[in-house]
């Protein structure tokens, strides 16, 4: 504390130096005058007294100097003068400084922006009270429980309190005579109290309330006009009136994380909920777990389930920060984390390439100043002082670059914050700059300063005094150029790596857009219906109505939509017994229940056997259809048609068909297994998707389908989309990856080619005398061209070979993000990248070659 007070006092002094000097003089005058007064009283004459007093005081000059030094911070003032000097050096060559700062700023801007997005999406704290005593509860490896089990757990009083939430439900909002689909989040009445969600206006939902809603800031601003009198307003949601009691703050972050943002929270029986619990005071998650485990065994007694035991895989996971990624959600988030990590690394590499350029530039400059430094050192200047002065220059560049990069970050994150990703539960990130971003940027600035400045500074001051004075600004020995060559080779090598990654993502995007998904989506509409009152009857009458619509070729219900993480296939695991025998096969497969026309609508061929029939209804013998992978896994080479499959709960089903392999959960999956069961033989759930094949373009039909379904049952909510749109989420990583990686790779290549051009130019400049002599002795332009070309080729070839060697390994982990058709080991990639680099390197050598050819021996021989 005392230390900072002292620093504060000293800093204040810096701004008041002239006033300080004035005051000090006045004080001296008073002191001398006071002494003179005293001497006069003791009998001395006025002028003698004054003289005597002055003599006694001594030199006011020396005293003033000593007094001033009490206040000064020498290192700070030295630093200031170093920075001033560096600024002058940069101003002398503004174009170069601007290029250096701009290349740093672009790299740092991209890097910090990805950092900001990743931090917000993955590691942000949710809006809640005391996240440490809040836990997400999962039983049987799953965070969802139905309301019956929820109430059981509530009455068991294991925790202080529990709350349930069902995110991403579609809610019908009737406004006037129009209906809108909203992303609603159904919560139990305890949710707001238990989680402790702050509201900006009004109040949270309270216990015992049944028909109230709290709206998010975005919904309030965009859909309710941002009216301040919104509290108390009634919204008709799914046919029932709800009163708006509160508005959430702008930076509300949902417990689910990842930027998910619903339109509103409402109290409605969610059917199934994700479970959150407030731990009792002083009880950690571990201790709470030991209390929960026996209750789950009790659950198994009350709600026995043959498939899965409640008490199995019980877990309490954290709700915020990095801890959240350790649990079940963490496993799902691995590809996302990997994706961000890759982008951070790629952009960091670009920053390093930019650093290499600057370092090379400073290196060149430091050699031309080597004589100056040698003289200063021989006159007694300390080496550290000179190094510090050179470092000030790179520090200034680093600070300017980081500052501009941060400005870019603020601009980009504001743009990104305005983006609304229309997943079923929309994603909106609220990215705000924070202290961590600042710390991260400071770290970047330090790294940039050291990587750009340290080597040039040490080299410039390391040369022997005599040698430097003699060499007089010319390269001293091969060491300097070797260093710059190494930098360029490094730049070219990492450019190859970046280009390889970028090309892979580009090919992936092309491949993914042309959709080798194993099914056809060009004429497909998907309508999702939630919560009709009589579900079985609703499905039948809906199908009937839809088939009557002109322009609809076929309609089928299904429980899952492929390639959609939110409406996903259920992942089933378990030992299946082919032929009901003793041999059991453990498999993990995707399961969907579909209607008879599903395979026709999706254009998934049935390779053998038959599709489902209308006669495969409840009560009829159970049947299944397997995909090729699954059939092979279960039955080997024997034809599975007609064979019986026994499920873990001892149900038997007969295999009636083999469907061709397609994609299920994501585009990158390999050898995925799938099993289909007839829709009408599956237990009824609270929602269903209707798949429709249209004759014409699906866009025109979507509206009619929507109206037809909405007219059937007013208590149901309907969400109709074109299937292609639904895949936007599945394509998002490829799009973002291709855009960012492609841009970064090209930018890196540009920087590397600038580096190459600079090094060639510089070495041509150094060899002008030599070239002049050669030309004078009769070297042809071809010989001169060969000189430059040889050097260029040597650099490019070395860079290219090492780059290709690194890239061959470095791009392997990317296969996690790519469709199987795009292989990371494909030699075509590397050949294409090498060709691109060769062309660009050729272009970068043009200017140095011209410079070398223009050398006039008469001028060059006088060149010094």
């Amino acid at each position: 504390m005392a230390f900072w007070n002292e620093v504060g006092n000293r800093v204040r002094y810096l701004f008041r130096r002239s006033r300080f000097d004035r005051e000090f003089e006045e004080e001296m005058r008073f002191h001398i005058q006071a002494r003179a007064d005293e001497l006069e009283q003791s009998g001395l004459a006025g002028s003698d007294a004054l003289r005597q007093a002055r003599r006694e005081f001594g030199s006011t000059l020396r005293s003033g100097e000593a007094t001033r030094s009490a206040w000064q911070m020498f290192w700070l003032e030295d630093l200031a003068s170093d920075v001033r000097y560096a600024a002058r050096a940069l101003r002398r060559n503004p174009a170069l400084a601007l290029a250096a700062v701009a290349s740093l700023a672009l790299g740092i801007g991209a890097n910090t922006t990805i950092f900001s997005v990743a931090r917000e999406a993955l590691f942000s704290e949710p809006s809640c009270r005391d996240p440490h005593s809040l836990a997400q509860v999962s039983t049987r490896g799953n965070s969802w429980v139905s309301m019956a089990q929820y109430r059981f757990l509530e009455h068991a009083h294991v925790f202080d309190a529990i709350a349930g939430v069902n995110i991403g439900m579609v809610v019908n909002w009737r406004n006037g005579n129009r209906s809108y689909r909203l992303a609603g989040t159904h919560v139990t009445d305890s949710f707001f109290e238990v989680v402790g969600i702050p509201v900006a206006m009004g109040r949270p939902i309270e216990r015992g309330e049944t028909d109230v809603t709290v709206v998010t800031y975005g919904f309030w601003r965009k859909r309710l006009g941002g009216a301040p009198n919104v509290l108390g307003r009634t919204l008709v949601l799914d046919g029932k009136p709800y009163t708006v009691v509160g508005v959430l703050p702008r930076d509300h972050r949902m417990l689910a994380g990842f930027g998910f943002t619903p339109d509103l929270y409402l109290t409605k029986d969610p059917g199934e909920v994700m479970l959150y619990a407030r731990l009792p005071q002083g009880i950690g998650r571990q201790a709470a777990y030991t209390r929960l485990a026996p209750i789950c065994r009790e659950l198994d007694r009350v709600y026995p389930d043959v498939n899965r035991k409640w008490a199995k895989e019980v877990r309490l996971s954290a709700v915020g920060g990095t801890e959240r990624l350790e649990g079940e959600a963490g496993r799902q988030a691995i590809p996302v984390v990997g994706f961000f990590a890759m982008l951070v690394i790629v952009t960091a590499i670009v920053v390093l390439i930019a650093c290499a350029n600057i370092s090379s530039l400073l290196l060149a400059r430091s050699f031309t100043r080597a004589r100056e430094f040698a003289i200063r050192m021989s006159l007694g200047g300390s080496r550290w002082r000179l190094v510090r002065q050179l470092l000030a220059e790179s520090m200034l560049l680093a600070l300017l670059g980081t500052g501009a990069g941060l400005a870019l970050n603020l601009w980009l994150t504001r743009l990104l914050s305005a983006i609304h990703i229309p997943t079923p539960l929309p994603i909106e990130l609220v990215i705000q700059p924070d202290r961590l971003l600042l710390l991260y940027s400071v770290a970047i600035a330090i790294v940039v300063t050291v990587t750009t400045g340290l080597v040039p500074a040490l080299r410039a001051t390391g040369a022997g005094i005599g040698a430097a004075v003699k060499a007089g600004g010319r390269e001293t020995g091969p060491a300097g150029s070797a260093l710059r060559n190494a930098l360029v080779i490094g730049q070219l090598a990492v450019s190859i790596v970046l280009l390889s990654a970028g090309l892979l993502f580009l090919r992936n995007l092309i491949q993914a857009t042309s959709f080798q998904a194993g099914f056809d989506t060009s004429h497909t509409i998907v309508a999702t219906v939630q919560g009709p009152s009589d579900r079985r009857k609703f499905v039948d009458s809906a199908l009937e109505r839809l088939r009557e619509l002109p322009g609809i070729e076929a309609a089928s219900p299904a429980y899952a939509v492929p390639l959609n993480p939110f409406l996903a296939f259920s992942r089933e695991r378990g030992p299946l017994r082919p032929d009901a025998g003793s041999r059991s096969v453990r498999v993990e497969y995707n399961s969907n229940s579909v209607g008879p026309d599903y395979f026709r609508i999706m254009a998934i061929p049935i390779l053998d056997g038959r599709a489902f029939l209308d006669s495969d209804r409840a009560g009829a013998p159970e049947v299944v259809i397997l995909n090729e992978n699954m059939a092979h896994r279960l039955f080997g080479d024997t034809n599975p048609l007609g064979h019986i499959l026994r499920f873990p709960d001892n149900r038997d089903a007969r295999v009636v068909g083999i469907a061709r392999n397609s994609t299920y959960v994501n585009l990158g999956e390999k050898d995925a297994m799938a099993l289909y069961v007839p829709f009408s033989q599956q237990a009824v759930r609270g929602y269903a998707h209707f798949f429709l094949r249209t004759r014409g373009a699906p866009e025109t039909m979507a509206r009619k389908v929507d109206e037809a379904l909405a007219g059937l049952d007013h208590s149901a909510s309907v969400d109709t989309r074109i299937m292609g749109d639904l895949f936007a989420a599945a394509l998002l990583p490829s799009r973002a990856g291709a855009a960012v990686l492609g841009a970064m790779a090209l930018f890196g290549l540009l920087l590397a080619s600038i580096g190459l051009c600079g090094v060639l130019l510089y070495s041509t400049q150094q060899r002008i005398r030599e070239i002049g002599i050669r030309v004078a002795l009769g070297a042809s332009p071809g010989n001169v061209l060969g000189m430059v070309a040889r050097q260029s080729c040597k650099l490019v070839a070395t860079g290219m070979c090492s780059g290709l060697a690194i890239a061959a390994f470095a791009v392997r982990p990317l296969s996690m993000f790519l469709v199987p058709e795009v292989r990371t080991t494909d030699p075509v990639n590397f050949v294409a990248v090498a060709c691109l680099l060769a062309v660009v390197a050729g272009l970068a050598s043009v200017a140095p070659t011209i410079r070398a050819l223009r050398v006039d021996p008469a001028v060059a021989l006088r060149h010094e």
Binding site: F30, F57, S59, T67, W71
Partner: protein, 111 residues
């Protein structure tokens, strides 16, 4: 007035003397010198040239505060006074100094 030549100050004791002198109330620089001289019965003479650097170092450390006022002779003068930190420092240094002097005296008497 002829007297014994004044004593060299022990290193570090200048701060202590100034702090102690200001303990009674604010004084300007000249008065500090005079007060120390009188209190030591002319034994200690602080050089005018070293007084002000010391005062300023103490200002930097935050032990003293300075403000302009009017002297007994109606002249504008800069008065120094103790801050709470300065008072704490005085207690600390006075205690340390006391222990040091006692220890030295013990050695001088017995050894």
């Amino acid at each position: 007035m002829e007297s014994q030549p004044s004593l060299e100050l022990l290193p570090g004791t200048l701060y202590l003397l100034i702090l102690r002198t200001l303990n009674h109330g604010p004084l300007h620089g000249y008065a500090i010198v005079k007060r120390i001289k009188e209190a030591s019965r002319e034994g200690l003479q602080i050089e005018d040239g070293s007084l002000y650097p010391a005062l300023n170092r103490m200002l930097v450390k935050g032990w003293l505060a300075a403000e302009w006022g009017v002297s007994e002779n109606n002249r504008k003068a800069r008065f120094y006074k103790l801050t709470p930190e300065g008072r704490k420092q005085l207690d600390k240094e006075a205690g340390e100094f006391g222990r040091l002097v006692r220890a030295i005296q013990l050695v001088m008497r017995t050894a």
